[in-house]
């Protein structure tokens, strides 16, 4: 009787426990009784050990092992567990991945970025490998590898990004809203920049950058370049043409100011050449005076308008104000200065053309005359000293 009661109590306790504990934990507990052993490895030496605490803390901690390891039905189980198919649950991500540049990646496509499958935490968790501040490092695991980049014909951009204004914002300032890799490229469905659907496809770039830089994008779209892109001109510049894609500098920085006039000049060749003739350029090239006028200081950077537009800073009506930004006291006469004058062009700038011609003729004639004079003098002096022996004062200096 007593023994029967004891057995009955045990069964009851077991039943209560059995019913109150979550099913998954029971299943995990079964698996973890073996796989919870630290350092457990299969015959090939691969770790088949699971850290129970970390797994329970992970986003998948409430699942049973068999939910993912679908060919494990009981014990003993098959020697080789099937490759886990994440798409069973994550169908959208999987379909994006399947159409992406990573579709053929040899590594497990999910784990390369998300890490240890038993320790995956939500992307809002700073521990997550896809937490915004951790993404550059996660992508960099492959994309900072020069050999890999070369093998796949990719630019090795990780270093450029890390030194950029976005990279600094992420790595140094921990700014969550700063652009990381996925902000521009997307995450699962990353497409090549040659694919018209890609956010990094040339004509999509203003929209991509404009997700964050809304105000600048509005100015750009209103400007002559934005309109040209919208009208289908593939040569009109988009954000990355001036700012680059990865090595983006702070636009007010000396470095950016020093290197960016040739960028405008790569299309506006004649304007760069005439700019080079001016004091603005001479000052700029020698450094130190980074604040001297660069293209965008007069023309604006994003809402560039033709001079004929009344809102353009280089419209005649606005010149005093525009030049006056640097030249205090600029007046109507002062702004007749031509920042792109071409003294080599008689038709456009006749006065300057003839002044330059006169100066060049003066220079050439004076130098030619005296060069002949000096050379003859040298020859004669030499002869006088060698032949005539100190005649004509040769011996007296």
């Amino acid at each position: 009787m007593k023994k029967q009661f004891s057995i009955g109590l045990a069964v009851l306790v077991s039943a209560v426990l059995f019913l109150t504990l979550p099913r998954s934990l029971r299943a995990q507990a079964d698996c973890l009784s073996c796989h919870g052993t630290p350092g457990m490895a299969d015959s090939s030496g691969n770790s088949i050990s699971v850290d129970a605490d970390k797994f329970h803390a992970s986003i998948h901690g409430s699942l049973k092992c068999a939910d993912c390891h679908t060919n494990v039905k009981g014990y003993p189980h098959p020697a080789n567990a099937a490759v886990v198919d994440c798409s069973t649950c994550h169908a959208d991500e999987a379909s994006g991945l399947a159409g992406s540049v990573h579709a053929k990646a040899s590594e497990h496509p999910c784990l390369s970025c998300h890490g240890d499958p038993h320790q995956i935490v939500p992307k809002t968790d700073p521990q997550s490998r896809v937490y915004p501040l951790n993404i550059p490092k996660t992508c960099g695991a492959c994309h900072a590898n020069a050999a890999l980049a070369k093998q796949h014909g990719l630019a090795n951009v990780y270093g450029l990004y890390m030194d950029s204004i976005h990279g600094f914002a992420v790595s140094k300032e921990g700014l969550l809203v700063a652009a990381n890799c996925t902000s521009c490229h997307g995450s699962h469905g990353i497409l090549s920049h040659t694919n018209p659907k890609s956010p990094t496809y040339r004509t999509n770039i203003p929209g991509t950058c404009g997700k964050c830089h809304v105000g600048i994008n509005e100015q750009y779209q209103a400007g002559i370049h934005g309109k040209a892109v919208a009208a289908g001109n593939p040569n009109a510049p988009v954000c990355t043409d001036c700012h680059t894609a990865h090595a983006i500098l702070e636009p007010a920085s000396s470095e950016f100011r020093m290197q960016s006039t040739p960028v405008c000049g790569s299309c506006h060749k004649d304007k760069l050449s005439t700019y080079r003739d001016t004091f603005h350029s001479q000052l700029g090239l020698l450094g130190g005076y980074v604040q001297t006028a660069r293209c965008w200081d007069c023309h604006e950077a994003h809402d560039i308008m033709p001079a004929s537009d009344p809102s353009s800073p280089i419209n005649k009506a606005n010149l005093v104000k525009t030049c006056g930004q640097c030249h205090a006291g600029a007046n109507a006469s002062f702004v007749q200065y031509q920042p792109h004058a071409n003294a080599r062009n008689r038709r456009l700038n006749p006065a300057l053309y003839y002044i330059r011609l006169f100066m060049n003729l003066l220079l050439a004639s004076v130098l030619t005359f005296f060069l002949i004079h000096t050379i003859l003098w040298l020859i004669r002096s030499h002869l006088a000293r060698t032949k005539d022996g100190a005649a004509n004062g040769g011996n007296h200096v």
Binding site: F279, Q282, L286, F334, L378
Partner: protein
């Protein structure tokens, strides 16, 4: 090597400290050619000119690698412009002092020979003849002309610098104070002044470093340097041979006593050599850089 240079070198070679000792047979007489004020003027002129030339060339050829590297070394454009403007002010001051001096001597003290005559800097008919005769001598077709106090190429040097300072100075200040000058100059003139400043500056640089250096210092009769602008003195032999007409006139007028002076002290000769050779070396370096930037790019 000349008599004069030998004479001043002699004390260095000899044991004795006495200057007159080595050539007792013919005691050397020395004549003053340039006053201390004139020598100072030339010193200010060439030191500021070297700095203006160096900094100006960096601007003119701001695209060339040497200009960018040197400018960076000196502290970028800010430093370049500071040195350029600083020396421009000094040179302007020297120029104004000179003009004031000439005006005072010529107009108020009524000193003879400032604006006309054999000792004037103003060109005359003899200069035209000297130029012609000099060319004739170059070709071996006649005797060497007898030069006066200032030979025609020296007058050209003087007026080239005079004109250059007016033109380069005005165009420089027009750029420096552009908004002010724009009050009474049309806007396109601001474009013109850069061209004028740049071309006239290049002409000055090429002329001084290629022509003046050779004519005055590096030609065989002066090589390696004519020290008179530093010491102010020249020996009688030198005087007689270089400017025979002036020497004859001085002797005929019996004024030689007023011009006789002591031999240049050894320290002054050594100091002048160091300064002079440094200036010539810097000038020739700038000449090479300017020409290479002009023709090579």
């Amino acid at each position: 090597m000349s008599d004069a240079t030998e004479a001043v070198q002699a004390p260095e070679q000899g044991e004795a400290a006495s200057v007159a000792a080595p050539v007792p047979a013919r005691p050397e007489r020395w004549f003053l050619r340039f006053t201390l004020a004139q020598r100072y003027l030339h010193a200010v002129l060439f030191t500021t000119f070297l700095v203006l030339a160096a900094t100006g060339l960096m601007l003119r050829f701001s695209g060339s690698a040497w200009a960018i590297r040197t400018a960076a070394l000196l502290g970028g454009f800010g430093a370049i412009l500071f040195f350029h403007k600083f020396c421009a002010l000094l040179l302007t001051l020297a120029f104004l002092i000179h003009v004031r001096d000439i005006a005072a001597r010529g107009l108020f003290k009524r000193e003879k020979g400032i604006f006309w005559g054999p000792t004037s800097m103003v060109a005359n008919w003899k200069d035209a003849k000297d130029l012609f005769h000099h060319f004739r001598w170059f070709l071996g077709l006649g005797p060497k002309p007898k030069f006066e106090r200032y030979a025609y190429w020296e007058k050209f040097d003087y007026w080239a610098v005079f004109w250059g300072m007016v033109v380069i100075g005005f165009s420089g200040y027009a750029m420096w104070f552009a908004p002010f000058f724009a009050r009474f100059m049309p806007g396109w003139a601001l474009n013109a002044v850069l061209i004028i400043h740049s071309e006239e500056g290049l002409l000055a640089i090429l002329f001084i470093f290629a022509i003046h250096f050779v004519n005055t210092h590096l030609r065989p009769d002066s090589f390696p340097m004519d020290m008179v602008i530093f010491t102010g003195r020249e020996s009688e032999e030198e005087f007689k041979n270089r400017r025979p007409r002036e020497y004859e006139r001085m002797m005929a007028e019996g004024r030689s006593a007023t011009r006789i002076t002591d031999a240049p002290p050894k320290w002054l000769i050594n100091f002048s050599r160091v300064v002079g050779f440094t200036a010539i070396l810097i000038g020739l370096t700038l000449l090479v850089l300017a020409l290479s930037a002009y023709f090579v790019g």
